[in-house]
Symmetry: C2
Subunit: 317 residues, 2 copies
């Protein structure tokens, strides 16, 4: 069986894995890093990969797939820019990693890689089409139609977090007003919780807030423990997520929407109001709606999806 | 050369045409109708088609493609519902027309048919992918990726007019708040012009408004003649269209966006502010943008696109 090197490059971690052509992860490794220069990342990938390959000589990879944070042109393997990798601009990452690993290499956006994995072996397997949303510090997306990653005309399709849901609304980190990301990312949840706490309603979140330790995870856990203030915050976040989901249903009509990323761990408390808003906004149309499911592959999705993209898309693999 | 019957069913007109496999319209005919029961439409189509076929015996069509107003499941040829055909619900139109014309028949949404025509022989020919927007009483859409119509999982992809651009904004005919259609359709332009006229600024539109004859066309013509009030109205409409265009660039990353429908006849006065807003909302991303072009095929697009869909998608044609 052929094997592939899967790589996931984020703002704080780099992960590598040897993935068999049946998508089983033979071995994996990860290293924290500081989101520095591209050359550092390339060297770290080469080092992690070499150690994996030495330890598994009979599973030597024949090609490499990389999922990277940021705006990536998957057709050329170029990272155009990345909020989490601020020094990266027009980095020809596929070429750099191909040289350092001596493997044919493709690079795509990390959310695209995760979407590809969830479609082929995760929560969206068997679907006609899937849109994956990664809900975390940012809101990313990836689309798989009929088994193939949909990249769009310039490699940027699926940057769904920066679609506008409220023109004239609050300003996003990207400079636009009213981006979906601005309403549903981890920071928005914390901001909404801080504001809710100013009402003086009693909440289990007050201590964490006083210590400056309020996070989306804290809010989610409080909501799931029945904290009424946290539940209101999560419900409002879910409702706004549902506005985005309705847009995707109207525009893309996907078979399945997969929700992944740290914020999705809040679970049904987030999903139920999102589904309600999706239904409300599409009811008068009789639109048939996508199934909404949670991601199944967790932190491995990026590594596995990147490896499977290398398996399926690099010529001669 | 094979020939195909193309049919375009709208709320006020039904058009038919015999279209050669090279997309040339051999002959066409149209009839006004009152948007009544499906059986009336089917009978009218059969009558128009029979007359065309009698007059062109050597170009007898071998299959029929229909573009219909409304929400259409193109996979089954069913019109689910249509604002312009209010009595139509779950109409199995493909079956009905196949029986009445004795031709293998497919039915899809009229904007999908128009998009297919513009992609193959119109403003988007040669593109990798295209999104067509039909701007009129409603705002419809259709997508062609790599030469094939993209229908989505349930046949509803491209209902872009009802994607939300301003949650909490004004209520649309569909019941949602802040739909793109609500901001940029013909009615929104008239409404915006009426409001602008209340300021008392002098405008060539005042006479039409006083006579209750203010239409989007009147506003567009006034803008193109240099009327400052009309220009403000069209500029604001274009800006809001640009919010939608940015959403489509982020989500779909199409190669080309084709603007058609009556409102698009306003031309550059509408397109320039739309392009400016698209650029503004994507600037910080370095996104490469779709080309924005006007439709080329005019009123024939629906008939031609439906015929070409029959050519390309009905088995054995």
């Amino acid at each position: 069986m052929a094997h592939y090197l899967g790589v996931d490059i984020g703002g704080t971690n780099i992960k590598t894995g040897i993935v068999a052509s049946d998508a089983v992860v033979v071995a994996s490794s990860a290293s924290g890093w500081s989101g520095g220069q591209p050359a550092e990342a390339v060297e770290l990938v080469a080092r992690l990969a070499a150690a994996l390959i030495r330890a598994h000589p009979s599973e030597e990879p024949t090609a490499c797939g990389v999922g990277s944070a940021g705006l990536v042109d998957g057709r050329t393997g170029t990272v155009i820019a990345s909020p989490n990798l601020p020094t990266w601009h027009d980095v020809k990452l596929a070429d750099l990693i191909a040289t350092s690993t001596n493997l044919p290499t493709l690079v795509d956006n990390d959310a695209n890689a995760a979407a590809y994995a969830e479609y082929h072996i995760g929560a969206a397997r068997g679907a006609a089409s899937a849109l994956m949303l990664t809900l975390g510090t940012g809101v990313g997306g990836g689309m798989v139609f009929g088994g193939r990653l949909y990249r769009g005309a310039h490699g940027f399709a699926g940057e769904v977090g920066h679609a506008t849901i409220e023109a004239g609304g609050p300003v996003c980190a990207c400079g636009n007003d009213g981006c979906l990301e601005r309403f549903v990312n981890a920071g928005a949840i914390v901001e909404r919780a801080r504001e809710a706490l100013t009402s003086g309603r009693p909440s289990s979140m007050a201590a964490a807030a006083a210590e400056g330790a309020l996070t989306a995870q804290v809010v989610g856990e409080a909501a799931n423990a029945g904290d009424a203030v946290a539940l209101d915050v999560v419900t409002e976040t879910g409702r706004l997520l549902g506005v985005g989901l309705a847009n995707f249903a109207f525009i893309l009509d996907p078979d399945v929407v997969v929700l992944g990323g740290g914020v999705s761990a809040i679970g049904q408390a987030l999903l139920a109001p999102a589904r309600e808003e999706l239904e409300r906004r599409t009811a008068s149309y009789g639109l048939r709606l996508p199934r909404l499911v949670f991601a199944e592959l967790g932190h491995d999705a990026g590594v596995v999806g990147a490896a499977l993209l290398a398996r399926d898309e690099l010529p001669g693999r």
